[in-house]
């Protein structure tokens, strides 16, 4: 069973992401949730995660910092990260690409948009 960590300070946004993930074929996955980047790191240290879906604009630790820490960590750098944000213009996309993130989707999130991005994971979501 896949484990997909959903990171957003809004519980409503997390619910929307999980609903979309279930619609696009991950209804059997487990979905631990975190309200910000630090909480996400705490969860990642305690359990195996196959995919991280994260917002950018969050208190305590934002999504860019979370991504930077994940990609700098030998333990976590293999985990695919999808960024879901309303702030994804070219400047933000470039900043994320520099940090090793290629999977990005704009809010408002739709199952089709999420599915297209998940299709870009080479070899699918690892287990």
């Amino acid at each position: 069973m896949k484990t997909i960590l959903v990171v957003d300070d809004s519980s409503v946004a997390r619910k929307i992401v999980i609903r979309c993930l279930k619609i696009v074929g991950h209804s059997e996955a487990e979905f631990p949730e975190a309200g910000h980047g630090q909480e996400a790191l705490d969860i990642l240290r305690e359990r195996e995660v196959d995919l991280v879906v994260t917002d950018l604009n969050m208190p305590v630790m934002d999504g860019v910092t979370l991504v930077r820490k994940l990609k700098a960590s030998p333990r976590f750098q293999h985990i695919p990260v999808v960024v879901v944000s309303s702030l994804l213009n070219e400047a933000a996309r470039e900043k994320l690409r520099e940090r090793g993130v290629d999977l990005m989707v704009e809010k408002p999130l739709s199952p089709a948009g999420l599915s297209a991005v998940l299709g870009g994971i080479e070899g699918g979501i690892p287990e």
Binding site: D9, S10, S11, V12, A13, K15, I16, N57, M58, P59, S85, S86, L87, L88, N89, E90, A91, A92, E94, E106, K107, P108, L109, S110
Partner: protein, 148 residues
């Protein structure tokens, strides 16, 4: 030169796209409207605009529309007003990002604060520019912009 942040057609597109995408709700901008019913019995969200220019964007709706948006977004209309307000906060966050992206050339940094929400007086004084929208059921939604 126009203001870097403004309530032009870019806010209309952001509001329409967000309401449709998140809550399957059709809405259109109206020229003006009676906002008395929104003066006190409103649910609101506000967010600081940091870049491309400083300001504040406010989203306010009446109680009935707030409940409808909650139901359309989460699948239920619960007794907890905190969930209703969180829906509005996420909606404002989403539409503010779409609006900011459309305002400036691609590649220009955009940044927003974290949404705050509440109920009651949403304090849109004379310093706020308003954009008023109406659903098919004639419920009003207001977006207000204050430039810093």
């Amino acid at each position: 030169m126009s203001d870097p942040i403004r309530l032009d057609e870019s806010i209309d597109e952001a509001v329409i796209e967000t309401l449709e995408g998140m809550a399957f709700t059709d809405i259109e901008r109206v020229e003006d409207g009676d906002l008395e019913d929104l003066a006190e019995s409103a649910s609101w969200a506000r967010i600081d605009v940091i870049e491309p220019a400083a300001g504040e964007l406010v989203l306010a709706v009446g109680d009935e529309l707030a409940a409808e948006l909650e139901e359309a977004t989460t699948g239920e209309r619960g007794p907890d007003p905190a969930i209703r307000l969180e829906v509005l906060g996420e909606m404002l966050n989403t539409l503010a990002g779409s609006w900011a992206r459309a305002l400036v050339p691609d590649g220009t940094p955009i940044a927003l604060g974290i949404p705050k929400t509440g109920q009651g007086d949403w304090s849109a004084g004379a310093e706020y520019e308003l954009a008023i929208y109406e659903t098919d059921d004639e419920d009003r939604l207001v977006v207000a912009l204050r430039r810093a």
